[in-house]
């Protein structure tokens, strides 16, 4: 092609501005069509009084929002969602960090372990749910059998019987599903930290803790930022594991906001009300994301060469 043979040095930095937009455009269009348009419709819906999908509704202004903010169930679900995110974040971060650090070591079978650690992430949620309901059952479940046989508990435990233990169980199961994936991402980031840095620090007599604080954490900053952001957003919006395990129960103890949205829209048949909850949830997460980006974004996020 003749354009390419022109004598001017062409490279990325000298590329015409529109070219950058052109490359990003297809993805942006796709996301706009599948997220922005439905989102706009949801906002519209939230100002009406549609109950069942397909039935006509009237414009009711902010009535759904007023009702929402006065509703105890909404605030309880909101609080539970925060605990849910926090619980998952703490548990998954600890497990993922530990796993990444272990897998970074050299040991026989390291490669195999690095591949198969991911097993719990690659199976469908439905299978995860089947597995854990079955394992935790009080009549014939192996976990309870082991607990009783080892003398840890006298009676089988009903993991989903009380609100607190159901919530804890669902958080644990969701974390079980996601921590290996995060571990592998972390592992990848750990590998990217130049070994020379550690060697140089060792020469200077730095302790393990110092190395972790001064080399490891800064090296992971960019990854931790994105995982903190996306991880929080995705975790906040987890629906299927909770729904399939407990349907939000017992006694609404595991009803987080996404579960409340589904319950309101498709079991109480208040679609507009559900849309209002969704919009509030979306706005809240948006604000969170903006704040997070403002204060937690590493300098490298702006796309400059991050290291070297």
């Amino acid at each position: 092609m003749s354009a390419a043979t022109q004598p001017k040095r062409r490279h990325s930095i000298g590329a015409p501005r529109w070219l950058g937009y052109a490359f990003v455009l297809p993805l942006m269009l796709w996301l706009a069509a599948t997220i922005l348009v439905p989102l706009a419709q949801s906002v519209l819906l939230s100002f009406q009084n549609v109950r069942i999908i397909g039935t006509p509704g009237e414009f009711v202004g902010f009535a759904n929002y007023t009702r929402l903010f006065e509703s105890e169930r909404f605030w309880e679900a909101f609080g539970r969602s925060l605990i849910w995110v926090l619980g998952n974040a703490v548990l998954q971060t600890i497990l993922a960090f530990a796993t990444a650090l272990i897998l970074k070591q050299r040991f026989p079978g390291q490669k195999v372990a690095r591949i198969w650690i991911i097993l719990s992430w690659i199976v469908p949620t439905v299978v995860v749910v089947v597995i854990w309901r079955w394992l935790l059952s009080a009549s014939g479940g192996i976990v309870n059998y082991a607990l009783v046989a080892l003398g840890i508990t006298a009676e089988p435990i009903g993991f989903f019987s009380s609100g607190d233990s159901a919530f804890a169980s669902v958080i644990a199961i969701n974390s079980w599903r996601w921590f290996p994936f995060q571990a592998v991402i972390l592992l990848a980031a750990l590998q990217r930290i130049p070994a020379e840095l550690y060697e140089a620090a060792s020469v200077d007599g730095a302790s393990t803790t110092q190395k972790f604080l001064n080399i490891t954490l800064p090296g992971l900053q960019s990854v931790l930022f994105v995982m903190g952001l996306i991880g929080t957003l995705m975790s906040f919006n987890v629906f299927d594991v909770i729904w399939l395990l407990t349907a939000g129960g017992p006694s609404a103890a595991t009803t987080t906001l996404p579960v409340l949205i589904y319950d309101t829209g498709f079991r109480q048949f208040r679609l507009s009300q559900a849309a209002a909850i969704s919009v509030v949830t979306g706005v809240f997460l948006l604000v969170f994301a903006l704040v997070f980006m403002r204060f937690a974004a590493p300098p490298s996020d702006d796309g400059e060469e991050e290291r070297i």
Binding site: G54, R133, S139, G141, S161, G249, R267
Partner: protein, 431 residues
């Protein structure tokens, strides 16, 4: 070369003619049935019947799409709204008002009348679908709860099958031994729990949720005593029962962890996953409180709704259903799950095709008990002709079960919980 070309032209011409011919003749009417009988063997049985019908009716093609109960409440309204609803959709009574609101549901009063003359519906089967001056589904099959146990386990404990609540509670207590729970009762916020608690409401005289004017009468002493008794039985239930659906209850019974359960049937599970000794499997009506006037058990009359106003499609759909109700076909239809689905017509209850299934032959006395129990079966919100469509909102949210959770999970007193339950229901049915 020439010959090959000629051949090609001949083949082409032939395909064209073949392709055009059927189009010029009358196209068969295609109709689709959505149902929630998703286990593979039920799908297979329905397909077998459809194939037979299609062969005998060349101008109609009936096909099926199995759906999941868990999603149908989302999916069916969405499909109707988007204009791709099926012509026929299976229903339970509380599902019909939701679709009726969407304006596509056909009144089938005349069609049910015709079928009634031929087969005689049990009146209780048609009642839950009759309201707002219409009949909104054709009843197809019934399911009713009974109390299941093992005769040998009762004998070993020296007790007889309970008929009163005192006997029942005593039995549950006596049967709770090392490694065995007296009775398995669920407390999930889920349909199964709605069913088991309503069993007790029926048998304490609290089967009416509505007054005849459509206001709620859920909060009353009879309801409170039902909930109170349930929480007493619950003490003798396994610790994970708050998370149960039907399957866990059956597994608990099959592996002898639970001595008694309330369920539509345990026959298939008992026969394939447990010892399968027909002599030992006991079944009785749900025990009633002393002095309860009209004992019974929860029953679900499943029916089929018609969602098309196209005359040809409607006629084809109804011809298929009429064919299905013929005694020689009807029994085979019910026995897609032998020992679970019960007849809703008099000639169906006598049909040889129903009673000659091998599993029904083996468990004949149990099935006879179930059929007998179905005579006094009823469903909350659809009792004594007091049918109010707003019950859909109550059942879709499982408010009966939610009220129970207030007691057994949150530790409220039965009276307070039932009062709160009624206010939850009032909120649910309000505009």
């Amino acid at each position: 070369m020439f010959r090959r070309n000629t051949l090609m032209i001949l083949v082409l011409a032939f395909t064209l003619i073949i392709g055009v011919l059927p189009a010029t003749a009358q196209d068969p009417v295609e109709v689709t049935l959505w149902h929630m009988e998703q286990p593979p063997h039920r799908v297979e049985r329905i397909q077998m019947l459809m194939d037979e019908f299609n062969a005998a009716n060349p101008d109609v093609v009936v096909s099926q799409e199995p759906q999941n109960w868990g999603e149908i409440y989302t999916k069916a309204p969405a499909a109707v709204a988007a204009g791709n609803a099926p012509e026929m959709l299976f229903a339970i009574p509380d599902f019909t008002p939701i679709l009726k609101d969407l304006g596509k549901l056909q009144n089938v009063a005349d069609f049910v009348g015709t079928l009634n003359e031929a087969h005689s519906f049990y009146p209780a089967a048609v009642a839950p679908y009759s309201y707002d001056e219409g009949v909104w589904a054709v009843p197809l099959y019934n399911m009713v709860h009974s109390l299941w146990f093992r005769n040998s386990v009762f004998e070993a404990a020296g007790i007889t099958p309970p008929t009163t609540w005192d006997e029942w509670l005593a039995a549950a207590e006596a049967l709770t031994t090392d490694g065995q729970y007296g009775i398995g009762v669920p407390a999930n916020r889920q349909l199964y729990t709605d069913q088991t608690i309503y069993n007790l409401m029926i048998n304490s005289g609290a089967d009416e949720i509505y007054n005849s004017d459509g206001t709620l009468r859920f909060a009353n002493d009879a309801t409170v005593s039902a909930y109170d008794f349930y929480s007493q039985l619950y003490q003798f239930s396994p610790p994970d029962s708050p998370n149960w659906t039907w399957g866990e209850a059956e597994a608990c019974f099959a592996n002898r962890t639970c001595a008694m359960i309330m369920q539509f049937t345990v026959i298939t599970t008992y026969d394939t996953q447990a010892e399968g000794d027909a002599e030992d499997l006991g079944v009785v009506a749900i025990p009633a409180a002393e002095g309860a006037e009209n004992p019974g058990a929860i029953s679900y009359v499943n029916g089929v709704m018609f969602l098309t106003d196209d005359p040809a499609k409607l006629e084809a759909s109804q011809r298929f259903i009429a064919w299905l109700m013929e005694p020689e076909n009807y029994g085979r239809f019910l026995n897609m799950e032998p020992g679970l689905f019960l007849p809703v017509t008099e000639d169906g209850a006598a049909a040889e095709s129903f009673w000659n299934d091998p599993l029904v032959v083996k468990y004949r006395s149990q099935v006879e008990t179930m059929v007998a129990n179905s005579a006094s079966g009823r469903l909350f919100g659809f009792t004594n002709g007091n049918t109010f469509p707003s019950i859909s909102a109550i059942s879709a949210q499982n408010l009966l079960a939610q009220t129970l959770q207030l007691i057994v999970i949150d530790g409220q007193a039965a009276g307070d919980a039932v009062a709160e339950g009624q206010s939850l229901m009032e909120e649910a049915i309000s505009g």
